[in-house]
Amino acid sequence: MTAQTRGPAEAADRGTATDASRADRPARPTPRHGRDHALAYLFLVPSTIVFALFVVWPLGDSVYLSLHGSDLFGGASVFVGLDNYRDMFTSAEFGKVLLNTLEFVLLTVIPGVLGALVVVLLLEAQIRGTRVLRTAFALPFAFSVATASVIFSVIYNYQIGLANGILGFLGIGKVGWTTDPHVAMFALALTTVWMNLGYNVLVLSAGVGSIPAEVMEAARLDGASGLKLVRRIILPLLSPQLFFLVVVTTIQSLQSFGQIHILTKGGPDGSTTTLVYSIYKKAFAFGSSDFGTASAQAMVLLVIVLACTGIQFGVLQRKVHY
């Protein structure tokens, strides 16, 4: 990803391309081009089929299901028009679900990216053992969502968990980490931030590593140091990685399921039921098979993810320095 390695590779690419076209031109360019295109389409076929089968078709099916009632087995029954959407948007429950989703995204994306940034900047300090620390911070990346969630569920156990054990040692009262409606979302977000930290640290430290040494040296010679160096040099040069992380972790947060399922099951009192978990509850959980409502909610999720991505590309990207 560094400037040095990128240069020669691109030059090599260009070189072969020019050589090939130069060799072609005297002969018959058009048929060859046609054959190239045909070949290109041929290579695209497998991914198109997969895309159509696993994305386009289910998407169409979701739209279809969202316009129908559900029979005993979750299949589409009668056509109900937009009734599922109307019921959804007029229910207080769904409003709460949307708010929970927003809360979860904000509580995971911002601390997740900022936290990783702080860790990476601190790691830049030339102290001994940086490599070990970097590996240590990247370690959560190696945990699966299920494993990490089960570990956290034990840490958060009200009666015997480590978290309340520490609070007890400090003489502070117990906290219902996953059982208090006012706390559960924070506990869930904390777990998610911890799980995301490893990946975020990896991406950002690669980004910092790719900042050319001469740029940093020049800045230092010009008298930049500390926060100024961070603000004027490192952050702008790190903006592609930061942007990437914000987009990716936002989408990841919107899709989070495992930690919610294992730690809180959307409770207590619905306080951690995000959109994805609500879809699951309607469609599959507890013997429910209300695929009509679940599909309508899935469409809302689709629109939200698309909108988020659109906004991030439209607004944030202008601030990104490549």
């Binding site: 289910p58 099916d61 899709q255 469609a283 599959f284 991505t309």
Partner: protein
Amino acid sequence: MRSGKFRRRLAARALVGAAALALTATMAACGGSDSGGNSTDAPGADALKNVKSPVTVEFWHSMKGANVAALKQIVNKFNAAHKGKIVVKPVFVGEYDDAIAKYKTAVQQKNTPELIQVYDIGSRFMIDSKQTVPMYKFIDKDKWDSSAIEPNIASYYQFDGKQWSMPFNSSMPLLYINKDLFKKAGLDPNKPPENLDEIEAYAKKLTNKKKNIVGFNAAIYGWYLEQLMATNGDQYCNDSNGRKGLATKVNFDGPDGVKLAQWWTSMVKKGYASNTGRTTDAAQQAFKSGTVAMELESTGELRDFINSAKGKFSVAAAPFPRLTGSGAPDGGTIIGGASLWIDGIGHTDAQKRASWEFVKFASSPAIQALWHTGTGYFPVNSKALDEPTDKAWVKQYPQFSVAVQQLHSTKPSTATSGCALGVMPQARQAAEEGLEKTITSGDPSTAAANMKASADSLAKPITDYNKAVKK
């Protein structure tokens, strides 16, 4: 150029991610044709006579850990005894809830398994799905003697007096006691509390905040509310607990449910009980740690509790408490667990018959003794308790005799058969939400409103379900 490529790649990733979400609520409804009979009648023994190659019985179950080991043992014994004729293939399909969700998809795809284990509260749905051959048809056809099946267990799966499925694994809730904590508090573990008020009085003495010891704990699990209502002789849903017709209303917002919510909330508020949430795992961990004096749990946990407590403290089992006083005369505990259902639609007579052969085998005294001692579930065949292996086991775990007494002292009644409601899993979940909301609010006076809101939230699912069934 690089930024463009990078952007496109990101955009593609975002799009794929977004679109994949739409998958979450989509079921693949591939077409399929009937492979065999469309009937739910029971074929006779001759259905297996002309079979040339072994008949395969796919058996969907939700057993894990020690339970799945015992299950495989039973299946292997059966397959060995029916070599060349029948092959039973057990398939783990996730928790009970997941199994039902998968079964629903299978019905749509016309691809159901031959045999499926379904939890107690899924029974009404299984009947209404109209996919299965009711067990009584096989019993009648073979004039099979079903009297050895524990009547209290069998009654859960009887509708209009007829046996629809065969109980397989059965459990009941008990009050587990940490004997050491009882003795330290000057209480006699042989005189356990009998109802909620007594539990509170005991818990007050047992709780020691400095030592992080609470008198009582239980998962906020709807099952316990169902049980407590039954001990009071009350019905969880109308229409004789849904046994006479399709129930249209749940009753947990009545005095029983409100009483439990108020009691539990004040227990937690006073610090006599800890709230470990709705997952049973968290509650089990708490009891095993030795910091909980009394805990509500299933008989199925008995072995695990005793083994985990080894060297730390000793465990006693007491009868499940009554809601008030000494309970109603026709009240008692409901037998939970799961039963076996034979699918009829889309299966050949040979397959149905082969499934029945396995069901008979699985309910025989010897196999039930093996099952009981290997898992801790009740033997559904009362004769199993006379088997030598079973007698040795009960001797090793004397606490289990409490469960047997509880089972035999319960009179089968409308209340103790439990509520048969099509949306029973959702009802249990709604009840839990009402209880949890009250407990976490710390205000017992909100109990009535919360339980009512929970009960009201079921109106639409119940109406929709009943409409779908009648159509």
